[in-house]
Amino acid sequence: MPEIRPLLERMMERVELRPFTLEGFHDRRDRKRRDQRIAAGVVGIAVFVAAIWIVTSVGSLDRGETSVGPAGDVTGPGTALGTTAEEVATDFFNAYAVFHNADRAVSMLANDADLSGVGADGTREFRLLIRTMEAAGFKVTLDSCVETISGTYASIVRCTYDFHAFRSDEIGRGPYSGNYAEFTIRDGEIIDVLAPRNLEFLREMAEPFADWVSANYPDDVEVMYTPHFSDFRLSPESIRLWERRCREYAKAVKQGTA
């Protein structure tokens, strides 16, 4: 049999490339962004119209009352009513990251949803992840959700957001901006979630916090983290420790002992 590598190289060389110039790249990019802005504007108008409809037709509700989703779950304000991919992503992002409403978030997942992009294996771990984020003081502000790839059977929506975590707001760090999460959506359900990490947050909060836990509570490290501090360890015991240690860390920083 021929060597694999030369075979692949030969095949790649044979591909007849069409022009892919820098100018063309920027043109396509500008066009796409313009289309996305228009789409975002349309969604904004739709949400505005929906909001007006809610205020006028459900005027008897207490303004401070939290809205309730179709399944009866408390979702907080801003719950999408429609079925576009951007609305589904917005609704899911709010439930998962902003309001830490695990029931609502899980109810929006497809049966075969891939949650490995946020470090969870299955819905049980996803619920634990949401509780851990809440315990670790994640406070997330959604900026916008825009469809980046539109397909016949599924779409990818990118949501941008700012956040505080590990009580960074209490010690004068953050908020951490420039973040995005991506959701693949099929038939109004989430089938894939991806949320890359924020490098500034890692340097400024996550690493000093891990050092502090290691120095002061070495026995907790194994309970709170997966090996090499690569991720949250997802367990009820871990959640209790994340809440407690984040609170103590903020206090120590404010007292100048961490």
């Binding site: 021929p2 591909v15 007849e16 490339l17 892919f20 059977y153």
Partner: protein
């Protein structure tokens, strides 16, 4: 990046890497259109974060990871489409240009995109099983299984022609 060293230019990076990326993606997906879409989005993501990522030592590696992440999701969507609509295989123009007598490339065309991706990333681009697994969102053992399947399929197809 060492102090005083300027951020490399995105333009130069684009020119250096675009053809290679397009060729890699074309062979993996089998479609020039899909390869162009994926390359466009991968370069866009790097362009928009160039101040953060431009100083990385292995920019090509980052580009490949970004493109493979997009491919992974695209592929998942394609599978969903096939399951739902029982569609035939989407148009694959890359392999149509292959001469009929070239058994090797015809054999490559018969592999699944995932098998080709595992093969291209490990054999042509030299990534380890772990790195390839991370790019494709699968375990290293799955990468090994895919490359093994691909090699076996190629061997089966090409065995007669080599004899």
């Amino acid at each position: 990046m060492p102090p005083g060293q300027e951020l490399p230019s995105f333009e130069a990076f684009f020119e250096d890497e675009k053809d290679r990326l397009l060729r890699v993606l074309s062979v993996i997906t089998g479609s020039r259109g899909e390869a162009e879409d994926l390359a466009q989005e991968a370069f866009t993501r790097m362009f928009e974060r160039w101040d953060d990522v431009g100083h990385m030592d292995d920019l090509a590696g980052y580009l490949h990871r970004t493109a493979m992440n997009l491919f992974r999701r695209q592929y998942r969507r394609a599978r969903v489409a096939l399951k739902r609509a029982a569609l035939s295989t989407p148009e694959r123009d890359v392999f149509e240009t292959v001469e009929e007598r070239d058994a090797a490339t015809r054999a490559l065309a018969r592999l699944t995109p995932r098998q080709r991706a595992a093969l291209v990333l490990t054999e042509a681009l030299g990534y380890s099983g772990e790195e390839t697994g991370r790019m494709l969102g699968i375990k290293a053992s799955t990468v090994w299984a895919l490359t093994h399947q691909a090699r076996t399929a190629l061997k089966g197809t090409l065995g007669a022609t080599d004899a």
